[in-house]
């Protein structure tokens, strides 16, 4: 609890006079923080207009945002009802996630096959028949009449219905949407989860649950001549057409390899070069200067430029990525190593030198033991951070999972694959983060991280 002070005015002015420098602040100093904040805000506002943000946001396709986010964790079935001369026909696209002869429980039909019912969960369903689609949304019934050249908006249509060029469309929210035309009714029905994650419809294991798969592997009849059921299962899993597990794992391994080899080579090359760059070890200003500018050059040309350059030289693939990381990090590690060398304790070197050691021995026994843990720790830190950056330079063609991610995003429909790869990347980064942290704390002690 604050207590009110009982200073008299007299005493107050006395104190002010006594400690003038405490009560009087330099106005420049006083207003500097405010001025900096105002300048930063002004900068942000100017950038707001520089990037034309209002325009971009008004042009944005916000409806897509929800769709794409939903795609990360859900999938769609896309059946089609066609009005043929022979009657009503139910069709699925090729390579449908439902398999070749689907009979999902959310589609039912009359015996004669002239009326189909599609359920959208709750009190939402449609009845499709020649010339008429009865839509029931939240218990309310709407009749969409189909003439020879257009589908007609129902008279009691709510705002949820949309009509364009003789096509009537309606969304059931997450559960899906429909589009009614004069020739067909298209249905998009959405479900939670990743469809066919383990086995695609072409596999004998498709549609089985985990227990059934295990029984099949252990005791089921042989599925393929000359191949055990286990190897069929592994093969079908790895070459799943929708999820491409084998390819994803391969690309992820490439990314890991790029970071590992690139950083290792960079560390190995930067090690001797740093001795040349360090003022206190190589007593030649020209050599120091030249080496340091060389490191600056490697660093400043930027990983992106090296990546694009080596992609042109070696062709797309992990070698280009390794070379890009190697070049950039030779510069970065070389700079850090030479700075560490310049800070070493000279007493140990003098001690070794006084025993009559050769110049190489002085470095080996007087310097290296001091800096090696630090060097290894810095290399480990870059290994870990390169695992992250290898993803992104992969996207410009330098190999690894980056390109695969970019391709999956470009199609605009494979967001569940993007989600899968993101999860794998996160796992790899977390694991490496922990390994690197653990090793580093062993090398240079807990407090130094």
């Amino acid at each position: 609890m604050m207590t009110t002070s009982n200073l008299t005015d007299e005493r107050r002015s006395e104190l002010k006079a006594q400690y003038a420098d405490v009560f009087h602040q330099d106005p420049v100093k006083k207003f500097r923080p405010i001025a900096i904040v105002v300048a930063l805000v002004a900068y942000l506002v100017s950038c707001f207009f520089f990037f034309n943000i209002p325009q971009v946001f008004s042009d944005a396709k916000w409806d897509r945002a929800g769709l794409y986010m939903a795609d990360w964790v859900s999938w769609q079935a896309q059946p089609k009802f066609r009005f043929r001369d022979e009657g009503l026909e139910l069709q699925y696209p090729r390579f449908s996630p439902l398999g070749e002869n689907p009979n999902p429980d959310w589609i039912s039909s009359t015996e004669a096959g002239d009326v189909y019912r599609v359920d959208f969960g709750g009190n939402n369903f449609i009845l499709v028949q020649e010339g008429l689609v009865e839509v029931t949304k939240n218990g309310q019934r709407y009749d969409v009449v189909i003439t020879d050249d257009a589908a007609l908006l129902p008279e009691n249509a709510s705002n949820a219905f949309e009509e364009r060029n003789g096509r009537v469309s309606l969304s059931f929210g997450f559960a899906g949407n429909i589009e009614i035309r004069n020739t067909q009714v298209r249905v998009w029905r959405r479900f939670w989860g990743w469809e066919n994650f383990f086995f695609d419809p072409s596999s004998a294991y498709w549609g089985m649950n985990g227990f059934e798969v295990l029984t099949m592997i252990a005791a089921g009849p042989q599925l393929e001549e000359g191949q055990s059921n286990l190897s069929v299962a592994v093969n079908d899993f790895l070459y799943n057409a929708e999820w491409q597990h084998a390819d994803v794992f391969m690309k992820l391994l490439q990314t890991i390899v790029m970071a590992f080899v690139g950083t290792l080579f960079a560390g190995v090359l930067a090690f001797p070069l740093a001795f040349i760059a360090a003022r206190n070890i190589t007593r030649s200003n020209a050599a120091n200067w030249f080496m340091k500018r060389f490191f600056d050059f490697l660093r400043s040309v930027d990983m992106l430029i090296w990546a694009l350059f080596f992609t042109r030289s070696f062709g797309p693939g992990p070698i280009a990525g390794i070379a890009a990381i190697f070049f950039t990090d030779t510069g970065t590690l070389g700079k850090l190593y030479s700075e560490a060398l310049e800070n070493v304790d000279d007493k140990q070197r003098e001690g070794v030198k006084s025993l009559g050691a050769s110049p190489v021995e002085v470095q080996r026994f007087g310097v290296v033991p001091q800096v090696l843990p630090l060097f290894a720790s810095q290399a480990l830190y870059f290994w870990e951070s390169n695992t992250r950056s290898a993803t992104i330079i992969g996207a410009v063609g330098a190999g690894g999972i980056g390109l695969k991610l970019l391709e999956a995003m470009r199609t605009g429909t494979d967001w569940e694959n993007v989600g899968y790869m993101v999860i794998l990347i996160l796992i790899v980064v977390f694991v490496f983060d922990n390994i690197s942290n653990h090793l580093r704390s062993k090398l240079i002690g807990e407090e130094a991280r």
Binding site: M1, M2, L44, C47, F50, F51, I53, V56, A60, K61, Y68, M250, L253, Q254, V257, F260, V261, L264, D296, S300, V301, D302, M303, L304, I305, L308, F309, R312, S313, F314, G315, P316, G317, P318, I319, L336, E339, N343, S377, Q378, R388, T391, I392, A395, V396, G399, G402, L405, L406, M409, R410, W415, V418, V422, L426, V429, F430, D433, I444, A448
Partner: protein
């Protein structure tokens, strides 16, 4: 220690012998571990190299002789072309193709005064980097106090905030950029969001470590005077950590300039995108002009930020990992 005869080695008593023995054993174990580490590393390395070579589209050994072909075949018509491309001056080789259309990219500001295309694109990239650093740094600044064990008693709050930071740090930037590019169309906004989100995670971690190392005496003083949590953070912690925060933010700005260049190349706009385009279209003069501009800009940003950091926190801003 008494006098030790020069001719024969000194006699060791049993205790010293045991110590000596022990030391030798330890040294042997250490050597064994070193060899094992090097051995395992070499095996992994060879396997990794073989794998990389096998899955690359061009093979390393086959491609080595052609290593410099690309550079040798990729030369501008004359060295001055690079500067004409850089400053958008008309080219004597102009044949109406995209390769020599340097003047097309001019951004007229007023009258005849124009900003050359690549300077404009570089400005876009720099703005992406600085805006992301400010936005990400601002959010990290707010978050970091909730992750510091000396300010927040609740383990659950700290755990959640730290995990959020880790997630933001590890989430691939390219996915955020790609997702936003699909919604907002390709351009700098997607890049800003991607780089900002990564910045929150990266700076948040550094920030809360600084806060945890802060001297708690001012905090105790304020607590004794009855200050609220917010007042304690504002008057006891912030003044202590602000120089280090600014220094880290400047370091991050350097990194973000590079990051936004790369993000640009995969569709985020700015210099990265024009660079990728000019390289894939074989426009040598333009490519070298961009490399030159990028090189100079990155060095300038590094120097400026280094100077500011040195001014703010002294040489300790340059000790890394130690």
């Amino acid at each position: 220690m008494g006098a030790v005869s020069q001719s024969s080695p000194p006699k060791l008593n049993d205790a010293t012998k045991a110590v000596h023995q022990h030391y030798k054993e330890l040294a042997r174990t250490k050597k064994l571990y070193s060899f094992l580490t090097i051995g395992i590393l070499s095996v992994i390395l060879v396997a990794a190299l073989w794998f990389a070579n096998a899955s690359n589209s061009g093979k390393f050994i086959d491609r080595i002789p052609y290593f410099f072909d690309f550079v040798l075949n990729f030369l501008p018509d004359d060295p001055l072309e690079i500067f004409r491309a850089l400053f958008d001056l008309p080219s004597p080789y102009a044949d109406g193709s995209l390769k020599y259309d340097y003047e097309e990219g001019r951004h007229y500001l007023f009258g005849d005064f124009y900003l050359p295309e690549y300077f404009y694109e570089m400005l876009v990239t720099l703005n992406i980097a600085f805006v992301s650093t400010l936005l990400g740094g601002g959010i990290a600044f707010v978050l970091c106090f909730f992750a510091a064990s000396n300010l927040v008693g609740s383990k659950a709050v700290r755990f959640v905030v730290r995990r959020i930071m880790e997630l933001l740090r590890a989430f691939p930037e390219i996915v955020i950029a790609g997702l936003l590019a699909a919604i907002l169309s390709l351009g700098p906004i997607a890049a800003i969001a991607a780089v900002s989100i990564h910045t929150i995670g990266a700076l948040g971690k550094l920030f809360f470590e600084v806060v945890e190392n802060a001297d708690m005496k001012p905090d105790e003083g304020l607590r004794a005077a009855g200050a609220s949590w917010l007042e304690r953070v504002r008057f006891a912690i912030v003044p202590q950590v602000l120089p280090n925060f600014t220094s880290y933010a400047l370091l991050r700005a350097e990194i973000n300039v590079r990051a936004s260049t790369i993000i640009g190349a995969v569709g985020g706009g700015g210099i990265g995108e024009v660079f990728r385009l000019s390289l894939s279209r074989d426009h040598a003069a333009k490519t070298y002009a961009i490399i030159l501009l990028l090189f100079v800009t990155i060095i300038a940003v590094d120097q400026l930020s280094g100077w500011l950091r040195r001014k703010m926190v002294g040489d300790q801003a340059f000790q890394f990992g130690a």
